[in-house]
């Protein structure tokens, strides 16, 4: 199917096909939970868990799924792993589970996950699908970390809850409120596009 090496399958998720910055997928959780780094990280890892295991299952049973009902089958598989992630967080990290609220169950409608199953895992071998899922997850976590770090440092003067800005710093409250999320992501998207244009024109 694809001529890339396993390493390239992984790397492409970080930049060339980064789900958030390049493909504009999964924007809802990206905007919603990035007010604090700890929430962004938890969301990223939960999504990664669901994506990796769904890809594993889908790519290993792809021959058993009739193509007419494949979307419904993928959704059931994804929903199962989302339930696992949701229960796990509720049991072991109640504060995080509480602050993420409905956004953990909403991983089920995250277009990154269904998109990867449809576009990749259903057509490729288990090993490749695993590398692809790992790469996409890493790209998603990276995007969440960048966005939540900017918002937490500017909006609260902290990083992971630790004070990083001096006492002189007046927090920009707007950054941790909804408008800050939209504006920061808009600027980051423009930056990503600009970097891409620069590297293209140099080639």
């Amino acid at each position: 199917m694809s001529t890339k090496t396993a390493g390239q399958e992984f790397i492409k998720g970080l930049w060339d096909e980064n789900p958030v910055f390049r493909q504009l997928l999964g924007l809802c959780p990206t905007l919603a939970v990035t007010g604090a780094v700890i929430n962004g990280l938890a969301m990223g890892l939960a999504t990664a868990f669901v994506l990796i295991f769904s890809s594993l299952v889908v790519s290993s049973i792809k021959k058993l799924i009739p193509s007419q009902v494949r979307i419904a089958s993928y959704i059931v598989i994804i929903a199962t792993f989302v339930t696992v992630a949701d229960r796990f967080l509720a049991a072991f990290f109640p504060p995080i589970s509480k602050s993420l609220g409905p956004y953990i169950p909403l991983i089920v409608v995250n277009c990154i996950i269904l998109g990867r199953q449809e576009a990749y895992s259903s057509k490729n071998k288990v090993g490749r699908s695993l590398m692809d899922a790992l790469g996409m997850s890493a790209g998603f976590v990276l995007a969440l970390l960048i966005l939540s770090a900017i918002r937490e440092i500017l909006g609260a003067g902290t990083f992971f809850g630790y004070q990083v800005m001096g006492a002189w710093f007046e927090p920009w409250i707007i950054m941790i409120l909804p408008p800050g999320a939209f504006i920061t992501l808009g600027i980051l998207l423009a930056l990503a596009l600009q970097i891409e244009r620069r590297t293209k024109s140099r080639k």
Partner: protein, 191 residues
């Protein structure tokens, strides 16, 4: 009074798009023209109201009495997906003009996180039946309001001289940020 408060807060204060960040994909994707934005808003309002009713019935008549709370995610997503299919077939049969207007937008709604978010939020907040229906309808109206304003702004933006890298989704997100800022002015309307 309680119902009025839910209605106003779902439209203006806790707007689905601008406060909960739900339904961002159609909000950015279908907001280039006012006509299509209006149809999309209508389709979402319609499906949201029905989803509110159905998800409440499933949650309170099946899941809670049988202590199957952990099946909420799986059952909600399956019901929403089949519901959208059903609504589509039903409208095509009953009202072809309405199908013409909503047609292509209906399948897109299945993957719209606003619908799933609505079912989950209503369940999370333990709303009664009437409250859930009002919440669903008002959330749909709030979505429609946001997407129409956005489409209006974007039609004007086409004429503006936007810097090259900001074109497309980047400027749309920044506009959405300014809209969210404006909508924050409604906070405090309801105590």
């Amino acid at each position: 009074m309680e119902l009025v408060a839910i209605f106003i807060s779902a439209i203006l204060i806790n707007n689905f798009v601008l406060y909960y960040f739900l339904g961002i994909c159609p909000f950015l994707g279908v907001s280039k023209k006012i006509d299509s934005a209006f149809s999309m808003g209508l389709a979402v309002t319609f499906v949201m109201t029905i989803t509110a009713v159905v998800s409440w019935v499933i949650n309170h008549w099946i899941l809670i009495p049988h202590e199957l709370d952990y099946l909420k995610i799986v059952s909600f997503i399956l019901v929403i997906a089949s519901l959208v299919q059903l609504v589509e077939m039903f409208i095509r049969k009953i009202s072809p003009p309405l199908y013409q207007a909503l047609g292509i937008y209906l399948p897109l709604i299945t993957t719209n996180c606003a619908i799933m978010g609505l079912a989950l939020l209503a369940a999370l907040r333990d709303y009664g039946f009437a409250e859930t229906v009002i919440f669903g309808f008002a959330s749909g109206l709030g979505f429609t309001l946001a997407i129409i304003i956005m489409a209006g702004i974007r039609e004007q933006l086409d004429l503006a001289d936007v810097p090259e890298p900001l074109k497309g989704p980047a400027i749309a997100l920044i506009v959405a940020g300014i809209m969210a800022l404006a909508f924050m002015g409604f906070v405090g309307m309801i105590k």
